[in-house]
């Protein structure tokens, strides 16, 4: 056995293209190879667009010497005649995990807040110092799979961590060793939003935390590079070095993460190469605006198995549409002139990648774009255009030999040469026996047709027009045919065999079903024709149009701003005028243009509002919908994170909120820590992008929190090590951070006052996003909305704020506000509360539904909020409860969900009442808006109607029709033998304050 291994080893060495010339040699004499190999008479794709007919490719020592039509072949050449065959550059996978094992997830019994590594960055998930080359082990099996599907080079990396360190560029040359096939030891740097499995360090627990961490890291690297740091940080040093490399960012499966990664890149002037989700077509305009090169995976979802109608009913329209639309992704990208490379990263098998690519071509992707995405584009992105990705002089001799056009089903890939080393995939010398024949066996004539692939053809035998069960085997130059001559189903077979010769006809011997030996003759009547050409006019598969967002109730055509005249409504102005009966309101250019009686307008769409109520849109001061993350729980302060980074405009709850008359919300960070993150103030412009929804020049807010959640009372018994664990500690957290922020600002002020020369001679303070944010609070540039319950802590935070000379803006929840309402008035803080929630935890034992009324009567600006995707749809009813509990007047109760939250959000100059010049954010109600019987009929934001009760009902019908059509298409796909997956009911994520 040992001997055998040794000899294998030697065989392998002798095949090596290169010799390591300065290595001692003890196994024989030195054998240098300087001869050329010439591939002649081929159709050569030097690049996807530079195609040479009847040309020659000349290679030597693993490199392309020349490709052209008038190449002189040197004497010392091996010549291979490729008449009728094609040569392409072999493929590059720019995003690979080839040969690099990921670390396994570490289990831990409790939380870990500090980094495990010493001498490196403070966060274990920042690992720029790790180099894939150190972990790289050539994986022969995977290499074989890749080579068989046309790949020659992969750019592989350790797919672990937020900054993942450098990748390594490897040629898939299984006959060489690492000294030859490693093309670039540090080819690129990889990044992602996902934490390392190797560490349990908590921070960041969220997407927005990962984004904040990256930003801080870039600031720190800049500061460090300028020599400001006293300590040594090997991670930052590695990052600084790696910054020169191409930066490849894995944006993961979240459709919106490509935009998020790009946003960070823009802030720091870094052009990321972004690996997308595969669903770029859904918001192609935004993707186009990135102006960023992309890497696209090709894992199309399988059809759902929807034959069981009950199970089918659980699959969402958006999931079914993805199955239908995903194959168009590449053609949509390409028709928008967006440059992309392709990756096999998300395919379990490389063959699946290839079949999906064929499918993408079927759905309109041009083959030359597909080829570019696998050759030219990745080479360019890696800065290696001179070395790979084409067959220009001097590039690695990485190329494919095929029987025909690369992306046609009937084409055979014969050989994949990597670094001048031949890898045979299919025998090139195999004779093409495909075509139509006239078959004669024992006096009977049949029509025989051989089709499919050259190396594995299939057969069809017909007697007259009747199809006969038959099978063909074609191995090592021999053909065996079996068929049932009788059509009566009797299981007897005629067996024929022959050796394939130069002749086009097949003649041989065989055995009849009854055992009699016979001779047979198959005379070729016509050659095989690629089916592709005949089927050019084949109907393209039906693709449903994308809607915005691309799911149920999305808009096929986004609604437009209108001039609208509401006639004869009961108008709740929220101004001194109070509630006006029989009043008209004119909306123009997104604003309230006029309020009065007998208004008219030529251009306006008139809506008869007789018997109906018109109000300003509801504002939810405390919402957690429309976000991909809510809590960054990894630190006790996370002022650096921003919900604005993770707004999700596709959340169906936006539409559901509109159906309840909500037009504006504050998406607050959760309450996992005393100092939370920054808020996003959005208008619910359903169908728009996150950027469309974010309110321009919105006042800045941050979430604070007190009590059980921040001291982790209900987090489980292991969560007892993060400070604070008591209300006593909570106070200290605030005092500490405010003091530090104050000192931080002072140190910057001092530094900024230095002369240029003095600056050069002293160290700059470190730019700290968290401290910058907290300093904004002290400077009254950012407002606090603080999650709060019991009176002691409410009182405490007001005192802390007093000490730092600012006001708390809003206490949210504030369920014991009624106990300290006088102190709140004195401090000047508003209260945004629940109407009647209580008893869900100990600190809400004394929560009473009269809270709003008592605070209101005391002079506090009171709002009623939801903190809940369900309740937010009926905040009008929640406001009405304050009439029952405490006798608030109807007009004041209505302001609790409109004008007052506008005031608390410092947006009351724009929204919150029906006043000339304010934003036309309006709701038309069927009934008194505080009545349980009121239904929101129309919800408008800035003059655009985003929700209409009747339209919603119509949409419901078209959803059902489209679902039904898609289900039928999926059943047809299943019947055609396509792979299916079990139906999945999507789980909606609903966040509350304490959702982690």
């Amino acid at each position: 056995m040992r001997v055998k291994l040794l000899s294998l080893c030697m065989l392998w060495l002798s095949f090596s293209v290169f010799s390591q010339e300065y290595f001692p040699k003890n196994d024989g004499v030195k054998t240098s190879k300087n001869s050329y190999t010439a591939f002649t008479n081929a159709k050569i794709y030097v690049t996807p667009t530079e195609v040479l007919e009847n040309a020659t490719l000349l290679i030597q020592k693993g490199k392309v010497i020349a490709a052209g039509t008038s190449i002189e072949v040197p004497d010392n050449s091996i010549t291979i005649n490729l008449e009728g065959k094609y040569i392409y550059p072999s493929f590059i996978d720019i995003y690979s995990e080839f040969g690099v094992e990921k670390p396994k997830r570490q289990r831990s019994s409790g939380p870990q807040y500090d980094a495990s590594r010493k001498g490196y960055y403070w966060n274990d998930h920042i690992i720029p110092d790790q180099d894939a080359v150190n972990k790289f082990k050539f994986d022969t099996n995977k290499a074989k799979e890749l080579v068989e599907n046309g790949f020659g080079v992969v750019n592989t990396h350790i797919a672990d961590g937020i900054v993942r360190g450098s990748g390594v560029l490897v040629a898939l040359n299984s006959e060489a060793n690492n000294s030859e096939r490693i093309l670039e030891q540090k080819s690129s740097q990889f990044l992602s939003f996902d934490k390392s499995a190797a560490s349990n360090q908590s921070y960041p627990t969220s997407l927005m935390g990962a984004m904040a961490l990256l930003r801080q890291l870039y600031h720190d690297a800049d500061w460090y590079a300028k020599g400001n740091a006293d300590n040594k940080d090997m991670a930052i040093e590695a990052l600084i070095k790696n910054q020169e490399l191409p930066q490849i960012f894995d944006a993961g499966n979240n459709k919106l993460n490509a935009l998020r990664a790009n946003k960070i890149g823009n802030e720091f002037d870094i052009k990321y190469i972004i690996k997308g989700s595969g669903y770029e077509y859904e918001r192609i305009d935004e993707i186009k605006n990135l102006n960023s090169p992309l890497i696209i995976p090709l894992n199309f979802p399988n059809a759902y198995d929807v034959t069981d109608p009950y199970q089918a009913s659980k699959v969402s329209l958006s999931d079914m549409r993805q199955w239908n639309q995903a194959p168009t992704n590449l053609s949509v990208l390409s028709s928008n002139n967006i440059s992309f490379a392709l990756t096999t990263a998300e395919n379990k098998k490389v063959s699946e990648f290839k079949s999906n690519l064929m499918k993408a071509i079927e759905y309109g992707l041009a083959p030359e774009i597909a080829l570019a995405a696998l050759t030219e584009v990745p080479a360019k992105l890696l800065g290696k255009s001179d070395e790979m990705g084409s067959l220009k002089n001097g590039t690695h001799a990485n190329f494919l030999i095929t029987s025909g056009p690369l992306f046609e089903k009937s084409t055979t890939l014969y050989e994949n040469w990597v670094q001048g080393q031949k890898h045979i995939i299919n025998n090139m010398n195999i004779k093409d026996i495909r075509g139509d024949y006239n078959l004669k066996v024992n006096g009977t004539e049949y029509n025989l047709s051989i089709k499919g692939k050259i190396e594995s053809p299939s057969i069809e035998i017909k007697k007259d027009t009747l199809k006969i069960a038959s099978k063909l085997e074609y191995n090592n130059g021999w053909v065996n045919v079996f068929f049932a001559p009788e059509t009566d189903g009797s299981k007897t077979y005629t067996r024929l065999t022959t050796k394939v010769t130069k002749s086009d006809n097949l003649n041989g011997s065989g055995v009849l079903a009854n055992g009699t030996s016979v001779n047979w003759y198959a005379t070729k009547t016509s050659d095989f024709e690629s089916k592709k050409k005949q089927d050019k006019n084949e109907v393209q598969p039906k693709v449903f149009p994308v809607s915005f967002p691309n799911k149920a109730y999305g808009f096929k055509n986004t609604p437009q701003q209108e001039t609208i005249l509401f006639k004869n409504a009961t108008v709740w102005t929220n101004e001194n005028e109070g509630v006006l009966k029989n009043t008209d309101v004119l909306v123009k250019n997104g604003k309230i243009a006029e309020i009065g009686t007998s208004l008219s307008s030529n251009e306006a769409r008139v809506i008869d509002a007789t018997g109906k109520h018109l109000t300003t849109g509801i504002i939810d001061e405390h919402s957690h919908i429309a976000a991909d993350a809510i809590n960054e729980a990894g630190h006790n302060s996370s002022a650096e994170v921003n919900i604005g980074d993770v707004v999700n405009p596709d959340d169906i709850n936006i539409y559901r909120n509109l159906s309840g008359g909500v037009t504006t919300i504050q998406i607050l960070h959760g309450s996992a820590n005393p100092i939370g993150g920054r808020s996003a103030l959005i208008k619910l412009k359903w169908g728009g992008s996150a950027e469309d929804m974010l309110i321009d020049n919105a006042p800045k807010f941050i979430k604070f929190a007190l009590g059980e959640n921040v001291k982790q009372s209900n987090w489980g018994t292991t969560q007892t090590i993060r400070f604070p664990q008591t209300r006593m500690g909570v106070e200290q957290v605030f005092t500490d951070y405010f003091q530090r922020a104050k000192e931080y600002k002072e140190s910057w002020n001092n530094y900024n006052q230095l002369s240029r020369r003095a600056k050069a001679n002293s160290k700059a303070p470190r730019y700290d996003i968290e401290m910058e944010t907290i300093a904004e609070i002290i400077n009254k540039e950012r407002f606090i909305s603080c999650h709060s319950y019991v009176q002691s802590e409410i009182n405490m935070l007001m005192k802390v704020a007093d000490n730092f000379n600012f006001n708390v803006n809003t206490f949210t929840h504030i369920l014991e506000g009624y106990k300290v309402a006088d102190k709140m008035v004195e401090h000047g803080v508003g209260g945004s509360t629940f109407s009647d929630w209580w008893a869900y935890k100990y600190e809400v034992k004394d929560a009473i539904p009269y809270n709003a009324a008592i605070m209101h009567d005391a002079g506090v600006t009171v709002a009623i909020n939801s903190d809940d995707a369900e309740m937010s749809r009926r905040l009008n009813q929640e406001a009405a409860k304050t009439i029952k509990y405490g006798g608030v007047s109807e007009e004041d109760a209505w302001k609790f969900v409109t004008l007052n939250p506008a005031k608390l959000l410092h947006l009351d100059d724009r929204i919150g009442s029906i006043k000339k010049g304010k934003d036309a954010d309006l709701v038309l109600w069927s009934d008194h808006p505080l009545s349980i019987y009121a239904i929101a009929e129309k919800t408008m934001i800035e003059g655009t109607v985003y929700y209409d009760y009747e339209t919603m009902q119509e949409m419901q019908n078209s959803i059902n029709t489209e679902r039904n059509e898609l289900i039928n298409m999926m059943i047809a796909a299943k019947n055609n033998g396509m792979k299916t997956q079990a139906p999945v009911k999507k789980e909606e994520k609903h966040f509350h304050c304490d959702s982690l």
Binding site: S313, S316, A839, Y850, I932, A982, E987
Partner: protein, 434 residues
Amino acid sequence: MKKTILNIAACVFAITSIMAQQTPAPKQSKSILIMNATAHLGNGEVIENSLIGFKDGKLSLVADATTSKLDQQAYDEIIEAAGKHVYPGFIACNATLGLVEIDAVRATDDEDEIGGMIPNIRSLIAYNAESQIVESMRPNGVLMAQITPRGGRISGTSSVVQLDAWNWEDAAIKVDDAIHLNWPNSFTRGRWWLGEDPGMKPNKKYPEDLDDVVSFINEAKAYLKGDQTPRNLPYEALSGLIDGTQKLYIHVDGEKEILDAINFSQENNIKIVIVGGRESYKVADMLAENNIPVLVGRPHSLPAGEDTNVKQPYKLAALLTEKGVLVSIDPSGSMERMNTRNLPFYAGTFAAYGLNKEQAIALLTLNAAKILGIDDLAGSLEIGKDATLFISEGDALDMRTNKLSKAFIQGRDISLESHQTELYHRYNSKINGK
């Protein structure tokens, strides 16, 4: 005068002993007449100007004031209620009041016993009649409830109580009224910790799970036919179900599961009630045909999925009622105990989306009483039934006007104060001088 003194005494008592519960009202000793209110009888009928009389805890007069002669002298106390509304006490089916006090405090949690098939577990004996949450129901008109254990496959046995009592024994209206079964789900959540997709996928074990239920019932049947030794408490607890004196409340949402449950009830000759029934509207005809009532999930829930009509949960009661199904409301869900006081507004929401107001009232009154099997003594304002009723300033299904001035349980004039109203009075006085 005497009454005034008593009231002052009550106030002082309330202020000085803030942590104590309201004292249950004593037995009705005086006959009472409510005059000129709009009476919503609970059976769909309305008397615009009514006379409602009751003594010894029972209704003795339900009449139209415009057509009936009245002997005012026959009553010890007369309540003039013109412009106000009278309703039968609202009934919460499938509630967990008194089983948990504070959700996040484990020590106060008594709703879910361990074990899969535990019909022998009885909610009644854990029902805390002095719960602060229970007393917060009454000011909204919720005066009776079916107290139901949660969890497991067969969770246990419920009982029906009235919500003004010294202890569970006094509270009980119908002891051990029904058994509760959480029907298996034909979909199951992916085990994400094993690397599976966390979404819901078809449950391959569904038939097996169903079989477990059927086997358990069959084993109980066999046991009950024999000499019953050695004693088996769970099987014994099914005897009422098997002899037809108890109903089985099947907690189930999916269309397929509901059909399976109907089939199960027919094959095993068991009377059932569907609880939750999110997709019950898809099989409404079948439910009506088989006289199977539904406690519809509370309308304050989100639609089942992205594709579902945005208003679907609001429409469910009407979709079933119009097909002839007997419907009441299931208040279960997140923060269900404290939210149970919102039952009137759940009904109001159903009225906004398809039911007429009297139909919506019936959900919480006569329909509920029929489903629970207490319609001989509760659920409507009819002579001979318990005088469990309340007077509201206006429409009790609307938050703005649900303001109770009086409530009676079995004729007892109960307190409408609570821990919450006491805090209100105390701090409204401190802060606003009111």
